[in-house]
């Protein structure tokens, strides 16, 4: 099937879906509200998220609101999924796979805190069919070992199994690293089955994303986690765009300063801009970098995978921003401080 036939319908639909993104005015209005409840009401009555939020009985419950917002993303996902078949459907499903891993991480953290999993409803997905593990089965796990045993037969089992006897603190770290790696491997594999032109676009998207994550990982690994370089390099993700294994290895065996100097010579130099605290702002800068990449895809507007991938990520960033705005209100951050932590730059923001 040619790309004209594959994408003409869905890309048109996505343009309509994209027109429902929040405007800058919405962002400002949200931040200017005095109370959390007012913010939620604003979202409910004036935005596309209203439909999802109308199910909530207690609008003061931030967690509920956040969950519903995230589910909105999944709803959009499933809408897009319906337009594809075969390898393309598998590809979009593997993008969704990330939310499975996020849910598993959530469960793992809950287990680490000694909580009962039954209080977590289906987290990201609304329907069971989108999970590759049996959601009902794992919900009744009593402890970590039991939890992993119940995942037997899924692809998660092999990566979590070696850690089942570790103490919780360390293990969370390793398990999460491995889940992320699993997601990226699966995504990369399914991406290679796309048509040639789509594969090239996808490899650039993914490669940039991996570069950014690797830089952040090495930075934090050296600075906070105190890992041996061999561990550091083993946990980096393969298939980066600008940074190949050899470069990464050099960085892993080097110091923070070496890393900063190296990155400042690449196209990711804004990551190590020392005007602001790197520890705090590296993450947000990564997201902004991706945000701009995806926004540009819409400007190009070609009939290929870029539009749908970009839409999903832009929506994700928007939801992240909304959650940041809600959380900021909870912790009493000022209007100007809040803006600093948003992915989208809006009027009056300095970056």
């Amino acid at each position: 099937m040619g790309n004209e036939r594959r994408f003409s319908a869905i890309n048109t639909k996505i343009r309509v879906m994209r027109s429902r993104f929040l405007k800058d005015e919405d962002y400002i209005a949200l931040m200017e509200k005095d109370k959390l409840a007012d913010q939620v009401l604003y979202l409910r009555d004036n935005t596309v998220y209203g439909q999802m939020l109308s199910h909530i009985d207690n609008i003061d419950d931030v967690q509920q609101v956040e969950l519903q917002l995230e589910r909105f993303l999944i709803v959009q996902f499933t809408k897009i999924l319906k337009y594809f078949s075969d390898d393309y459907e598998k590809f979009y499903k593997s993008l969704m796979f990330r939310y499975e891993t996020e849910d598993l991480k959530l469960y793992l953290r809950a287990l680490a805190r000694g909580e009962d999993l039954t209080k977590y409803e289906k987290v990201s997905f609304i329907k069971n069919e989108y999970y590759s593990f049996s959601y009902e089965k794992i919900r009744n796990s009593k402890n970590l070992e039991d939890f992993i045993e119940r995942l037997k037969g899924t692809k998660f089992y092999d990566v979590l199994y070696p850690y089942r006897h570790e103490n919780y603190q360390k293990l969370l770290f390793y398990m999460e690293m491995n889940l992320d790696r699993l997601y990226f491997t699966a995504l990369s594999e399914s991406g290679q089955k796309l048509s040639r032109s789509d594969r090239e676009i996808f490899n650039i998207f993914l490669g940039e994303n991996i570069d950014l994550l690797n830089i952040e990982w090495i930075y934090r690994g050296i600075k906070f986690y105190n890992l041996v370089p061999e561990e550091l390099i083993n946990y980096t993700l393969p298939n980066g765009l600008a940074l190949d294994y050899k470069e990464l290895k050099k960085l892993c065996y080097g110091s923070i300063e070496d890393l900063k100097i190296y990155v400042s010579k690449t196209k990711y130099k804004e990551l190590v801009n020392e005007e602001k605290d790197l520890d705090l702002f590296m993450e947000i800068r990564i997201q902004r970098h991706l945000f701009n990449t995806f926004k540009n895809s819409f400007k190009r507007g070609k009939l290929d995978v870029s539009i749908s991938i970009a839409y999903l990520h832009l929506l994700e960033f928007e939801i992240k921003d909304i959650i940041s705005i809600l959380e900021a209100k909870k912790y009493g951050l000022s209007y100007y401080d809040t803006k600093e932590y948003l992915v989208r730059t809006i009027k009056g923001s300095d970056e």
Binding site: V159, Y161, V228, E230, N234, P238, Y245, K249
Partner: protein, 649 residues
């Protein structure tokens, strides 16, 4: 040659007879059950209120349906499970059986057998699992280091070094390789297992913690070697081998035990399963029956001709009340009755749809016209005979009887036309043509085809009008474009156009044109006209302008379909020509080869080609003419097939 007359049968019987009655009904395969409760609710269960009936009628007030007992699903599962464990080859026969056991009895017996079988089956599974584990994990792991003469115990006893054995995936192995210069360890590839490559890692004890972390970051899956394996890899291999031998022996013992149990219980399990299936069948049928405290109420369609036989069944059960209500209410199912000659064509009709109960059975018309069309297009004595033989062969195969019969009849038609055309296996010089040589009379052939088409279309219109009359459908029957108005229009146009083409003055213009106009007006105003005759008001539906727009545009379609429908039949003549033409091509090739043997071979190949490919095309074209040109004019096919309950299904 018609649709069988049906009658609705309502039965009230004593509840103790219910299983017997049902079994007899199932065996007879003559009753199409419908929901009795629905019949009762629609007040169709009316009986004379006489003294002897009063009890039954009062009981009607306490009626309930049968609660389906889903336990047999569990029973079936158990039985199937048992069948699998014991490896039984069962053969269920349900027709001649009586219900001898209750569900409880079957369940407890199945459970007993299960329990006896369970122990060896579980043991067998465990043994097999152990064997598999040994196979995949240990025996392959030591393969590549079988010349390694150091015993494992020595490795364990090292003072400054430690060792680990485990599995790495391909990606992780690559990572390790790329960074080998920074790792303080010796890695030995020792073999492969189902999960990946097996390595032994040797490293100084002083870097134990670091090594552990590195290995973990590589997803190293450690294999713990049990204490009892302490020799050299070769010794371990042979140790594993002897263990495998022992396991295999034990497996054999258990398998023999299970086989013995299978032999012992085979017949009993078979019998139990037959019972379960019978019970489930009866239960399924019971869903249509209504029950009160003392009686059961059953409704179903039977054919008029089976009346006496059904009556005889119920004579066996005194106190059963049987009432036949005729076919006036509802929509009876359709049972077609055709003689042996037309029967195969019934298959073609039902592929399109089952006729409604009050619709004419199109089978005879389809049979004759399809044979005519096929014969005309594919007239050849020899090739037709091949079709007859093929059809007879197919008819002997299971589930192909009807299709085989169809092919045989088409073959016969082809042979008849072969005689008329004087063609045997394509050769036109062997026998004289009794009627016409298609290729020598091309124009005649095409004209004949159109005349044939006109004849068939007119027959189809007649069928359509009769069907409309039977449905009391004035709108379609009188004024529709397939009704009287349409036919008159068609005939008039034929007379006008045909007359001027043939140079004959069949119908003068001044009579013909007014008839055409009247017919067209009738088609446009068919709804108000119908309402006027039926004295219904208002004359139109809600959307008057919409109706007329649609109606006027439908005139265009009427003309088009008259034209295309008629011209469509030219293909019949064209294929008759193609048939000869194709063979001519092969004959020419044969001549070009210029040797008798080559000539014969080419003619044989040509015949195979024509029979296979052209036969198929003509078969499809004929079907297309039936379904598209003819059926659309007279046949709705919206009926429900008469589907009697039986034990087999």
């Amino acid at each position: 040659m018609s649709v069988e007359k049906m009658t609705m049968m309502n039965i009230i019987g004593n509840i103790r007879d219910v299983d017997g009655v049902l079994k007899d009904i199932l065996k007879s395969e003559k009753v199409d059950l419908v929901s009795a409760l629905k019949q009762i609710e629609d007040n169709n269960f009316l009986f004379d209120v006489s003294d002897e009936n009063i009890d039954r009628l009062i009981d009607l007030n306490y009626i309930a349906t049968f609660d389906k007992d889903e336990r047999y699903v569990e029973l079936l599962k158990k039985g199937e499970n048992l069948k699998e464990i014991l490896g039984l080859d069962l053969n269920y026969k349900t027709h001649e059986l009586d219900v001898k056991l209750s569900k409880e009895e079957i369940l407890s017996e199945l459970d007993e057998i299960c329990e006896e079988v369970q122990e060896p089956s579980i043991m067998l599974q465990a043994l097999k699992k152990e064997l598999e584990f040994l196979d995949s994990f240990y025996s392959n792991s030591f393969k590549q280091i079988s010349d390694f003469s150091v015993p494992i115990r020595d490795l364990r006893d090292m003072q400054y070094f430690n060792f680990k054995m485990g599995i790495l995936t391909k990606d992780d192995r690559l990572k390790l390789k790329k960074n080998y210069e920074n790792i303080l360890a010796i890695l030995l590839h020792t073999g492969s297992s189902a999960d990946g490559e097996v390595y032994i890692v040797l490293y100084p004890k002083s870097v134990e913690e670091e090594m552990r972390r590195i290995l973990r970051s590589l997803n190293f899956r450690e294999i713990i070697i049990p204490k009892e394996y302490s020799g050299t890899p070769q010794e371990i291999q042979s140790q594993i081998q002897s263990m495998k031998d022992r396991l295999n022996m034990e497996i054999e013992v258990q398998e023999r035990r299970i086989a013995q149990l299978g032999e012992k219980y085979k017949e009993r399990v078979n019998f139990l399963m037959e019972q379960v299936k019978l019970i489930s069948k009866l239960d399924n049928v019971k869903e249509n029956i209504a029950f009160s405290k003392k009686y059961f109420y059953l409704s179903g369609w039977i054919t008029e001709s089976d009346k006496d036989e059904i009556n005889k069944i119920f004579d066996k059960y005194p106190g059963t009340l049987l009432l036949l209500k005729g076919d006036k209410q509802y929509n009876p199912p359709t049972k077609l009755r055709n003689n042996w000659f037309f029967k195969p064509f019934q298959w073609m009709v039902s592929m399109y749809g089952t006729p409604s109960y009050n619709e004419l059975d199109p089978t005879p018309f389809v049979s004759l016209s399809y044979m005519l069309l096929f014969g005309t297009m594919f007239g050849d004595l020899g090739q037709g005979f091949v079709f007859v033989l093929a059809g007879m062969y197919l008819a002997k195969r299971k589930k192909m009887e009807l299709f085989g019969g169809l092919i045989t009849r088409l073959g016969i038609a082809s042979m008849i036309f072969g005689l008329l055309y004087g063609a045997v296996f394509g050769i036109e010089t062997l026998i004289p043509a009794l009627w016409i040589k298609p290729f020598d009379n091309i124009n005649d052939m095409l004209m004949i085809a159109i005349f044939m088409g006109v004849g068939l279309l007119l027959t189809a219109y007649t069928y359509g009008i009769i069907n409309a009359y039977k449905r009391h459908d004035i709108e379609e029957g009188l004024f529709g474009k397939e009704g009287v108005a349409g036919v008159v229009l068609y005939i008039t146009l034929l007379a006008l156009v045909g007359g001027s083409m043939l140079g004959l003055n069949i119908l003068p213009m001044f009579i013909g044109v007014p008839i055409v106009i009247v017919c067209l007006l009738a088609i446009v105003f068919r709804l108000p006209l119908t309402h006027m005759i039926e004295k219904k008001r208002p004359l139109h539906g809600d959307d008057i302008s919409g109706y007329y727009v649609e109606s006027i545009f439908s005139l265009l379609e009427t003309f088009l379909s008259l034209l295309s429908g008629t011209v469509s039949f030219i293909r019949v003549g064209a294929f008759a020509l193609t048939h000869v033409g194709l063979f001519l091509a092969f004959e020419t090739i044969g001549h070009m080869i210029n040797s008798a043997v080559g000539n014969i071979i080419v003619i044989i190949i040509g015949n195979i080609f024509i029979i296979g490919l052209e036969g198929l095309i003509v078969f499809i074209q004929g079907m297309r003419l039936q379904y598209y040109e003819l059926f659309s004019r007279y046949y709705k096919g919206e009926g429900r097939e008469f589907n009697p309950v039986s034990l087999e299904k």
